[in-house]
């Protein structure tokens, strides 16, 4: 009996038992669709997190203040104000820190901006002219502020695109905007950096740090110092140079007592990636369980089929079907059910990957290797869970099979 004949006969019995076959397929279908969406969700999340992180700038190190300790009470992360503008200036020193290409200290406060009748609350950042290159941004129109603006504590501001739009300013350069009741002149608008689900890099305002400190904060401490390493390969060196310099400046000898933290883009990336992986493994586990349940469904149905078709099996054997032929027939049937579930599940998964992002903010990546793999796995499940019923069918003696009523 040829494979072609076996296949034809398997297909025939699947078609004959349409309802039962489609219910069996449904179990596999759901499992496979879940796998494809899970993998797609994981990959989509990873890529959006990665693009959000790389939007911060390139070869970036982020220095944040350490916690304060008052008596035995340790304050929250970044609660102290140990970093100063002067620290940033010192870190820019090429002799002590040759691998640091640029330094941009930053202070941030949430402040309301008013332009004409429109008002909008956004994060107002005080920084230096180096901010633009350190954060990997560029100007859409106008220009960034200069060292001279810094020296003069000039009331000039650069807006992000979203901020400009929200304030109803479509030709903003040269216009005036009130920040905390102090009028500022808009000298430029930043190019869009894109947004992720958690941050909008286009909704911000940047003013000279000196202006921010004198007009709003009255303090010389800064909330963050951004460092740009000279290249990808010198990030480690830049990190240790910055650490040594800051320890020396703060008069600390033991690194364990450091009152600041240096984070690299890579560490942030790794953290997110590992969270993503955990999530993917978790969802993948659920999908695997649903596949297992689907497989047991196939086995269940095939066992029912063996019992129900016991007479047919007996007849086929009486007519000359060998045990191997009967086994093959049931295996082909089970794997065809698996394959059908796999293909239908892949179809549903791909449709889901295209449609679901319209309703939720998450991106779902379509992975072709995962899709092909899922179909193969579905067929494999059909084969594996078909083995036992097929063996049972093959072992039936023709007499007991023919005798049953």
């Amino acid at each position: 009996m040829s494979w072609w004949e076996t296949l034809r006969s398997g297909m025939q019995s699947i078609v004959t038992h349409r309802l039962r076959s489609s219910l069996t397929v449904l179990g596999i279908l759901i499992g496979i669709a879940a796998v494809i969406l899970t993998v797609g969700f994981g990959e989509g999340a990873t890529s959006s997190v990665n693009s959000a992180i790389s939007a911060l700038g390139t070869n970036l190190l982020i220095v944040t203040p350490g916690s304060t300790t008052t008596g035995l009470v340790r304050g929250g992360f970044g609660s102290s104000s140990t970093l100063t503008y002067q620290n940033a200036v010192d870190l820019a020193n090429k002799i002590d820190c040759p691998d640091i290409a640029a330094v941009a200290p930053q202070v941030t406060s949430e402040t309301t901006l008013v332009a004409g009748n429109e008002n909008w609350t956004t994060s107002v950042n005080g920084s230096t002219p180096a901010w633009l290159s350190v954060r990997g941004r560029s100007m859409a129109e106008g220009s960034f502020f200069t060292q001279q603006d810094m020296n003069e504590n000039a009331n000039v501001v650069v807006l992000g695109q979203t901020t400009a739009e929200e304030l109803g300013l479509f030709s903003p350069v040269g216009e005036t905007v009130d920040i905390g009741n102090i009028p500022f002149t808009i000298i430029g608008v930043l190019n869009s950096a894109g947004s992720s689900s958690s941050t909008n890099e286009d909704d911000l305002a940047v003013i000279p740090i000196t202006t921010a400190q004198s007009e709003f904060l009255g303090t010389s401490s800064v909330s963050t110092i951004y460092l740009e390493a000279s290249s990808q390969s010198t990030m480690g060196a830049a990190d240790s140079e910055a650490t040594d310099e800051l320890l020396a400046l703060h008069g600390i000898t033991d690194t364990a007592d450091a009152d600041f933290t240096i984070t690299s883009q890579t560490t942030i990336e790794n953290t997110f990636t590992s969270v993503d992986k955990t999530l993917t493994i978790l969802l993948g586990g659920i999908a695997a369980i649903s596949l297992l349940v689907g497989g047991i469904g196939v086995m269940n149905i095939m066992l029912v089929a063996v019992t129900e078709r016991i007479k047919e099996i007996g007849l086929r054997k009486a007519l000359g079907a060998t045990p191997a032929m009967i086994r093959r027939q049931f295996l082909v049937e089970a794997s065809a059910l698996g394959l059908a579930g796999g293909v239908a599940g892949a179809g549903l998964g791909l449709i889901g990957a295209l449609v679901i992002p319209d309703f939720v903010s998450n991106k779902i990546a379509i992975s072709w290797p995962a899709t092909a793999g899922a179909i193969v796995v579905a067929m494999g499940i059909g084969v594996i869970f078909g083995v036992y019923p097929a063996t049972r069918a093959a072992r039936l003696t023709p007499i007991e099979a023919l005798r049953s009523e």
Binding site: S2, T16, A318, L319, G320, A321, T322, M325
Partner: protein
């Protein structure tokens, strides 16, 4: 007896020598066959008659290579099949035996000619000749105009004809009919028995198993089965001297 004059010169197609079949469902063994010996020669039409429980079903299973004897020998066309495994038995059934069952045993999802071609699929015959031979066999049983009908569109008698066509399509050495009229009304029964007769006249070897005397009488030789063996002198076998 006239037909069997040259019997000694011919070789039997079926020869059972002291066949026993013992079941041990519990610790007490049940002997279903107690030393059955019979020879069937090519072209013979034999009926085996016995009450239910006489062991004639077991005899039919052994004869049809659906089961093997506990002891004794069964030579089918000269080959000892009494110790074959299921794989080889399946091939022997496929090539040498055509079954006609009381329940017809047609597959309801297949039409008449698809049912008839089934044994040819297992024999590895190619598609084209399968269809040709199936149609030919259906023509032979007078169903040439019903080849595309499904079993549920055929009467009982017609279904049994399809089953006969299926039994004939492989040109078997032995046609084994197990209560072929058991599920039929008297007209269809006569019809099927008439067909058996016609096949016998064409030279087919037929063994018909039944519990009805009038059905058994359709055959040229009647073997009486009782308590796991043939009654002495029934059918006047007298072939035991034939050595394989």
């Amino acid at each position: 007896m006239t037909q069997r004059q040259p019997a000694i010169a011919r070789r039997p197609i079926v020869q059972l020598v002291n066949v026993w079949k013992t079941y041990t469902p519990t610790s007490v063994p049940v002997h279903a066959l107690r030393g059955v010996s019979i020879s069937v020669f090519p072209g013979e039409y034999i009926s085996v008659i016995g009450p239910s429980g006489s062991g004639k079903s077991t005899f039919m299973h052994i004869l049809g290579c659906l089961d093997v004897p506990t002891s004794g020998h069964y030579y089918l066309a000269g080959t000892d099949v009494s110790e074959m495994d299921e794989e080889h038995l399946a091939k022997v059934r496929n090539r040498r035996i055509g079954f006609v069952f009381q329940q017809f045993h047609l597959l309801p999802s297949l039409n008449a000619w698809r049912n008839v071609e089934l044994p040819l699929i297992y024999a590895g015959v190619d598609r084209k000749s399968r269809r040709l031979r199936a149609l030919e066999a259906l023509e032979q049983v007078g169903l040439g105009d019903r080849v595309d009908h499904h079993p549920n569109e055929l009467s009982g008698g017609q279904q049994q004809r399809v089953a006969v066509a299926r039994a004939l399509v492989t040109e078997p050495d032995l046609l084994l009919a197990d209560e072929p009229t058991g599920n039929l009304d008297s007209r269809s029964s006569a019809d099927v028995l008439g067909m058996m007769d016609a096949l016998h006249k064409q030279g087919r070897t037929i063994v018909l198993i039944t519990h009805e005397q009038d059905v058994a009488e359709a055959a040229e030789r009647i073997m009486r089965f009782r308590d796991g063996k043939f009654l002495p002198g029934s059918g006047v076998p007298g072939h035991e001297e034939v050595v394989v």
